[in-house]
């Protein structure tokens, strides 16, 4: 009679499986219902608070119900206020920041930046960057340089970039000298986000430490800050290759012919190849044919990027540059390949057909 216990066992297993499936189904349905209820409640709260927040954006007086809202309504008001704060600037941003200060949100966020949990500190830092009050900015500066968690420091750096404060530029630049600084790309993005507000601090730091000077030069070039050109030229003559190359690249982006002399001097064979490559690139951006001769002399340079950038720069000059490139392309030296590439790129950019490469001589000939 071995079949009977097996059938009973199977029945038990099937019953247990069915019960489990029913429990899972009920659990799923309950979770969905709960989520729908919460989502509905949240939507209703937002619907109630949205017109009040919108009125504040337009300069209306914040009603007491908005200032004192707590719980779900308070959270909805803050969600909406922060969402709008990320989209507006000028007086609308000031009105929203004032609303959040009156609601006590800023005090709460400042306290949260001392939380033992990194994600809470980071979240608070992000929102403080949107509020951009002096207190928020001060605390963000402390987090950028003092928080032990690198990700919180990164979030605080980005948030500081959103404050639009002139003081923030120098804080960001000085953070580069701290032990384990935030990656330079993040600091550069934050400085660019500050935009014109960062310029006074950046120009002042052209006389600062090595890292500050290099970063300030790069960002001033990206911001097209023409009046900074003299400070940049002074840095072309400084002791650090990193600073000099940054200043040279920035001068190239500014495109001022006044910089041709100091930048051309950096092509000297005795200079560091990284600086010479940067100088060749910069002369191409400036685009003045007077530097064609100096660049043509670099076409045979043994350092790839020096010769390559020189060829690309010559292609920008028209007549004088193209003549130098054609001459180099017809030769047998290492510069021929760079010259041919530059000429082909120039032809393509002008919608022309690049010259066909010279055919290799059949075997047995030319020997």
């Amino acid at each position: 009679m071995p079949a009977f216990p097996v059938a009973g066992f199977l029945l038990d297993v099937t019953g247990a499986g069915a019960a489990l499936a029913v429990i899972l189904l009920l659990g799923t349905v309950a979770a969905r219902v709960l989520r729908a209820l919460l989502s509905g409640r949240r939507a209703r709260a937002e619907q109630m608070m949205r017109p009040m927040v919108l009125a504040v954006v337009s300069g209306g007086t914040a009603p007491a119900a908005l200032i004192s809202a707590r719980g779900g309504l308070g959270r909805a008001a803050e969600r909406i206020a922060f969402a709008y704060l990320a989209q507006v600037r000028g007086e609308a941003a000031v009105f929203l920041a004032d609303l959040l200060a009156r609601r006590g949100t800023m005090g709460r966020l400042l306290r949260l930046t001392h939380s033992p949990r990194a994600h809470r500190r980071a979240r608070a830092a992000e929102q403080l960057g949107l509020i951009a009050s002096p207190e928020a900015e001060h605390r963000l500066a402390e987090l950028v340089t003092g928080d032990h968690n690198p990700e919180v420091r990164i979030v605080a750096t980005r948030a500081l970039g959103k404050t639009g404060s002139a003081v923030a530029a120098r804080t960001l630049l000085h953070s580069l000298s701290r032990p384990a600084p935030v990656p330079e790309g993040v600091v550069a993005s934050a400085l660019l986000e500050l935009g014109p507000e960062a310029v006074p601090g950046l120009r002042a730091e052209l006389a600062g430490g090595r890292r500050q000077r290099a970063m300030a030069a790069n960002v001033l070039g990206l911001l097209d800050e023409l009046p900074a050109w003299e400070g940049l030229v002074e840095n072309v003559g400084s002791g650090s290759v990193e600073v000099r190359a940054s200043a040279v690249r920035a001068l190239g982006r500014l495109g001022l012919p006044q910089a041709i002399g100091p930048v051309t001097a950096c092509l000297d064979a005795g200079e560091d190849p990284a600086l010479r490559a940067a100088a060749a690139y910069a002369l191409g951006r400036i685009g003045d044919p007077r530097s064609a001769q100096s660049l043509a002399a670099c076409l045979e340079d043994p350092h790839y990027w020096v010769a390559h950038n020189a060829a690309m720069a010559l292609a920008e000059f028209g007549g004088a540059g193209v003549s130098a490139l054609s001459l180099a392309a017809a030769g047998l030296g290492s510069g021929a390949a760079h010259a041919k590439e530059a000429l082909a790129r120039r032809a393509l950019a002008r919608g022309e057909r690049p010259a066909a490469p010279a055919r290799a001589a059949p075997s047995g000939q030319g020997q």
Partner: protein, 125 residues
């Protein structure tokens, strides 16, 4: 009443712009993507469109190109809404015939001024 179509996939931006324009006396319609914008304009050509550049599906620039190639919408004033990081799109927008652009984050008051300025410029032509 002067009608404005606001096209942006971000509901927060739509809310802000709609509220401010309605407060200034405009009749505002909304569209959340390029396809919806094309449908709205096909139904009724508005007096002006505020058009976001970066949208899912058909981009703002593509929508503008289609409007400019259509006789009925070729002269419709369009102001581009663009994020700071997409400033290169501004040049392309002007090439395609945009009348002005506003960079996000924006000042709602300035936005209304730009809308009014473009409309009065068009009326005086």
């Amino acid at each position: 009443m002067t009608s404005v179509l606001v096209v942006d996939d971000d509901p927060d931006v739509c809310d802000l712009v709609t509220y401010k324009l309605e407060q200034s006396g405009f009749d505002v319609r909304r569209a959340s993507d390029g396809d919806a914008a094309l449908r709205e304009v096909a139904k009724k050509v508005p007096d002006l469109v505020l058009l976001d550049v970066m949208m899912p599906g058909v981009s703002g620039l593509e929508v503008l190109e289609r409007w400019r190639s259509d006789e009925t919408t070729a002269g419709m004033p369009v102001i581009m809404l663009t994020a700071k990081a997409q400033e290169n799109d501004v040049e392309r927008g002007f090439e395609l015939g945009a009348d002005d652009y506003v960079i996000k984050p924006f000042s709602p008051r300035e936005l209304v001024r730009r809308v009014t300025a473009v409309l009065s410029r068009r009326q005086s032509v």
